[in-house]
């Protein structure tokens, strides 16, 4: 989230698209409703289904799953055609004026793809900017040059007419225009609009571009950086913001530092190649500091006695251009690549796309370690449906961990707010905190390597771990010590010039906490486990995420003394764009930051220099401005509509290119596995005629790995259902409550039918005689808490049983071109009454 939950109260228009906060982030509705009640805000909901959020919206528009870019591209056209954009913001704070290489070809003139495509990969040579002899990007501040970003934007989206958008999305044109008009009304300095998305946007083969299209709209309307604005990525887990910040992904180290690739043979080369540079004279280019964060991170891994270059060499490297992400892991696991597998605090047997493949994959490894609170479909995969344990070689360890109220530590919510949790009770039975468990395993492995030989063993034996002590039987992990390590220390006495005040020096002693990341060093004299969290622990006030201050001097709900937000306790990022180039707030009634004559007050300022100094505020971009044009992406500098891989239409009505050309195609020969089967890819498949989307209900969380075991919640939502329209139910002879089988090319699940008018058939391409149906299924269920499975003596048995298995059994192995997040929100299924056809 660029802003934070309470900030919804400052919005005039709240667009809910790609999410359903009323069901899935219920308490967020407190602030949405606050905006409605106190400032007359309007809620717009765009969704294939009339959700709980839709029922509270002032305006609802349906759209077919997977057509968001067509819908939003139409909005960009509407904003541009009617000159509703915030011109001063666009000119000064975006790359609208940048001149692009005249050789760039766009989809409208190039068969639906950008120039440079060969074999599913783009050569981005023609996507570049024009530069002068000094290397500075050429610009046209009048925005009239035919090769400037603004003119290219007009040209690209001129194809997204309301008529064509309606044909693609199935949204009635009058609804479309109503949404466009209402949301575009926020393009004025004194109006604020926010967009709320979640997995409804990410889980598509065009997921990144869905979100980018909205970011572009927010930039055109001047909604980034202001109170009541922004793009709200509403995350699905209590700490998935924090776990991402801390680099539990193949491609990043903590603090969004790119994982080194094999070609970057030394730290010196890594720093040279991976540190962004700019020729724009006013741009701060914050990432120029990257070497400081990398050095400080390496110190937090191997301490001060190992040379930085040696610490860099210790770290594992990925091969250039190779993807090691989720779908690849299970594809490789199924093909026998791994002998060991940790599924720690996760239940991939239900959460992984194409769960049958995931479950089969686990039969191919020698050992699995699963850490969880309850028995689950992953730890017990070897005795699941269709498995014969006597033929499965896998050794499995299911380790019981403490729950969140049985240990202490912090988590970061969607608003980047780090909040501390305290231990209330002892862990259940012999269960242990995750920190204790990982420490014990590490120590045992280190002991083995100290006693016996093994390759590159120093990488393990020299890892520092000053995070607690042995007391009684086990190591007791101390999260407060880790919090300090994440913040970072000075590792030697050091006198440093204040990075924000030339000529002023400050002396630090070895062991001092580093005050903020601006003080981190690239010479190995500082450590910091995750630079964006530097500043969260202080010598005088301790761990700031423990704070409970109630002050809110701006009245905007920033609550700057309640816990702590990264970075540097800033509550609204990009807030430097909330003031005009002379430093005056665009909207004085909602001023996030204000210049008091000497300094900025309000929120912690972001990017902005002293008023009128001309520094562009998007300092994390090398050029200092936000990207309407995004040449860094894998699948195009502007978002373009492509159909989901499995889809109900023969042709992409926008262009001859049906699917995103840059996705990794697991359906191509030699790429996926025998289990990777699909329907409706090249051409429609009558066996699976309906679109299916997965979603959540309030009463369960993720795979239900915790909530299915809680009887109150299991009683309220006891099992799999399939939601469908009255029209489809009638055609299929299905009534509410009937047992149905929902099947895809990959598997099937049993569901109870819920027949409602919340789904309506879509009229696509104006074809009223052949409406397209969409159905929806929740994904929280799994076989472990069902009644009819086999129980061994001593097995845990849910107090309230649930019925049905995982929705992900149906989902294909296919992911977004940039992130490889699976396409769970649009794939093809059939629905029949159980026992029927």
């Amino acid at each position: 989230m660029t802003n934070h939950w309470v900030d919804f109260k400052n919005s005039d228009i709240i667009l809910i698209m790609g999410s359903n906060p009323a069901s899935n982030h219920p308490v967020s509705w407190k602030w949405i409703q606050n905006a409605v009640d106190n400032r007359g805000a309007k809620i717009i909901c765009v969704d294939p289904r009339f959700t709980q959020s839709a029922s509270k919206a002032h305006l609802y528009a349906p759209l077919r799953s997977g057509t968001d870019i067509a819908f939003l591209g139409g909005m960009i056209k509407y904003i541009l055609d009617n000159k509703l954009y915030f011109e001063e913001y666009v000119k000064n704070y975006t790359n609208a004026s940048f001149l692009v290489n005249p050789d760039l070809k766009m989809p409208g003139e190039n068969n639906g793809v950008f120039s440079g495509l060969t074999d599913g990969k783009y050569d981005k040579g023609t996507w570049s900017y024009q530069t002068g002899p000094d290397g500075v990007i050429k610009k046209d501040k009048s925005l009239s040059d035919p090769n400037c970003v603004f003119q290219l934007l007009i040209k690209h989206y001129s194809r997204y007419t309301p008529e064509l958008v309606t044909k693609i999305t199935g949204t009635p044109t009058d609804k479309l225009l109503e949404v466009y008009k209402l949301y575009a009304s926020t393009g004025k300095p004194d109006k604020a609009g926010v967009e709320l998305y979640a997995m409804g946007w990410t889980q598509h083969t065009v997921g990144t571009q869905n979100i980018r299209t909205m970011c572009m709209i927010q930039l055109l309307l001047g909604n980034m950086g202001i109170a009541g604005g922004g793009v709200a990525a509403m995350r699905g887990e209590g700490n998935v913001q924090g776990s991402t910040d801390h680099g539990l992904l193949f491609h990043i180290w903590p603090g969004y530092l790119s994982t080194p690739t094999a070609s970057l043979a030394s730290l010196k080369i890594y720093n040279e190649k991976q540190t962004p540079t700019t020729k724009e004279k006013d741009s701060l280019n914050w990432w120029k500091n990257k070497p400081k964060y990398v050095a400080s991170f390496l110190r937090s891994m191997y301490g001060k006695d190992m040379a930085l270059e040696d610490a860099y060499a210790m770290m594992p490297k990925v091969d250039d251009g190779v993807n090691y992400s989720w779908l690849t892991i299970f594809d490789q696991m199924y093909k026998g690549k791994f002998t060991g597998f940790f599924a720690w605090g996760m239940n991939p047997a239900c959460s992984g796309a194409h769960s049958n493949k995931v479950r089969q994959a686990m039969t191919k490894v020698d050992w699995v370690v699963n850490v969880n609170l309850f028995d689950n479909e992953t730890g017990s995969f070897w005795r699941g449906p269709g498995m014969d344990p006597t033929k499965i070689k896998t050794e499995v360890f299911m380790l019981p961990c403490a729950s969140s109220i049985e240990k202490e530590g912090s988590i970061a919510n969607s608003g980047r707010l780090q909040q501390w949790r305290y231990k209330a009770v002892e862990p259940v039975g012999d269960s242990l905190p995750d920190g204790d468990i990982m420490s014990e395993i590490l120590f045992k492995v280190q002991d083995l390597y100290k006693k016996h030989d093994g390759p590159h063993k120093e990488a393990l034996t020299q890892l520092t771990w000053p995070y607690g002590k042995k007391a009684g039987k086990h190591f007791h992990y101390d999260p407060r010590k880790v919090a300090a390590e994440i913040n970072g220390f000075f590792l030697e006495d050091k006198k440093i010039e204040n990075p924000t005040k030339k000529g002023e020096f400050r002396e630090f002693k070895k062991g001092d906490l580093v005050p903020t990341f601006a003080w981190l060093q690239d010479d190995g004299s500082t450590s910091s486990g995750c630079w964006v969290y530097c500043g969260s622990v202080t010598p005088d006030k301790g761990i700031l995420p423990m704070r409970r201050g109630q002050a809110d001097p701006t009245g905007l709900g920033l609550f700057s003394e309640w816990c702590w937000s990264w970075p540097v306790n800033r509550r609204i990022i990009y807030n430097g764009a909330s003031v005009d180039p002379s430093g005056k707030p665009w909207d004085p009634s909602r001023a996030v930051i204000t210049w008091n004559g000497e300094k900025w007050v309000g929120d912690v300022p972001d990017g902005v220099g002293d008023p009128g100094k001309g520094r562009p505020p998007f300092i994390m971009k090398p050029d200092g401005v936000a990207s309407l044009y995004g040449p860094g992406l894998a699948d195009g500098p502007f978002p373009e509509h492509y159909e989901p891989l499995e889809c109900p239409v023969e042709k992409n009505l926008m262009s001859p290119q049906k699917n995103n050309p840059a996705i990794k195609r697991f359906d191509k020969k030699g790429v996926g596995s025998d289990l990777d089967v699909y329907s409706g890819v090249g051409s429609c498949d009558p066996r699976f005629p309906f679109i299916c989307s997965t979603y959540r209900v309030s009463e369960h969380w993720q795979t239900g790995v915790l909530t299915r075991w809680c009887p109150w919640l299991a009683e309220m939502q006891p099992g799999m259902f399939v939601e469908m329209s009255l029209e489809l139910a009638k055609a299929k002879g299905i009534a509410s409550g009937d047992k149905c089988v929902v099947s895809s090319a990959r598997g099937e699940v049993e569901c109870s039918a819920i027949v409602t008018p919340r789904f309506k058939p879509f009229i696509i391409n104006g074809d009223k005689d052949n409406p397209i149906h969409e159905v929806g299924i929740p994904w929280h269920f799994g076989w472990i808490t069902t009644k009819d499975r086999e129980y061994n003596p001593g097995d845990k048995k849910a107090e309230v049983f649930t019925h049905g298995d995982a929705a992900n059994l149906l989902v294909p192995t296919i992911g977004d071109a940039n992130t490889m997040i699976p396409e769970s929100k649009a794939f093809m299924v059939n629905v029949v009454k159980k026992g029927g056809r």
């Binding site: 594992p316 729950s403 995070y467 309030s698």
Partner: protein, 185 residues
């Protein structure tokens, strides 16, 4: 008397019917409410479910959670909770929580309870074996990669921040590159 929750609801129904006959039970009910968290120690936590980050007050007496409720001091939820957040009492007080490490041997048809020490030793041996067998000093191009290719990890956003930092440290120390979690799905 051992009263299940459903049974309690039935009993409450009977009480209501009795009070309908003219016996006023209101003072008893008020007294019971007051007692609920008396002598309890309160700590605060944050809901483990969605990412709104609602604060919750946990009341503990005699080492047992006796009540959980929304924390009115939190500027985010101001005491409100949804159905999931309102149920975290059941996450802690739940007979189905795993209390012992479980082990399933190759080709076995059931779990066996084991001691932590035994499990840690065996896991460590497995890790070393897999790592030693799959460790690559260099890749096909001869570039230095120092990685363990035979072990993968998924998880976890369900851990605390501090644990996420140390977990990635543990994994990268082992040489893993196949590191993923909930953020990717």
């Amino acid at each position: 008397m051992n009263v299940s929750r459903r049974g309690f609801l039935k009993l409450s129904g009977t009480v209501a019917a009795v009070s309908g006959l003219g016996i006023n039970l209101a003072p008893t009910a008020a007294h019971a409410r007051e007692l609920k968290i008396k002598y309890a120690k309160e700590t605060t936590t944050v809901c483990p479910y969605c990412s709104v980050g609602c604060s919750i007050i946990v009341s503990v007496r005699d080492g047992k959670v006796i009540n959980t409720e929304g924390d009115p001091d939190s500027p985010i939820n101001r005491g409100a909770l949804c159905s999931k957040g309102g149920s975290i009492y059941q996450m802690a007080e739940n007979v189905n929580r795993l209390g012992k490490p479980l082990y399933r041997a190759p080709f076995a048809t059931e779990w066996k309870e084991v001691e932590w020490e035994w499990a840690f030793d065996k896991i460590a041996e497995n890790v070393k074996k897999s790592r030693d067998a799959s460790f690559k000093k260099t890749n096909a191009k001869g570039e230095l990669v120092n990685r363990t290719e035979g072990i993968a990890s998924v998880g976890s956003a369900a851990m605390d921040l501090e644990e996420c930092f140390t977990y990635q440290k543990f994994l990268r120390g082992l040489g893993l590159v196949y590191i993923e979690h909930q953020a990717r799905i």
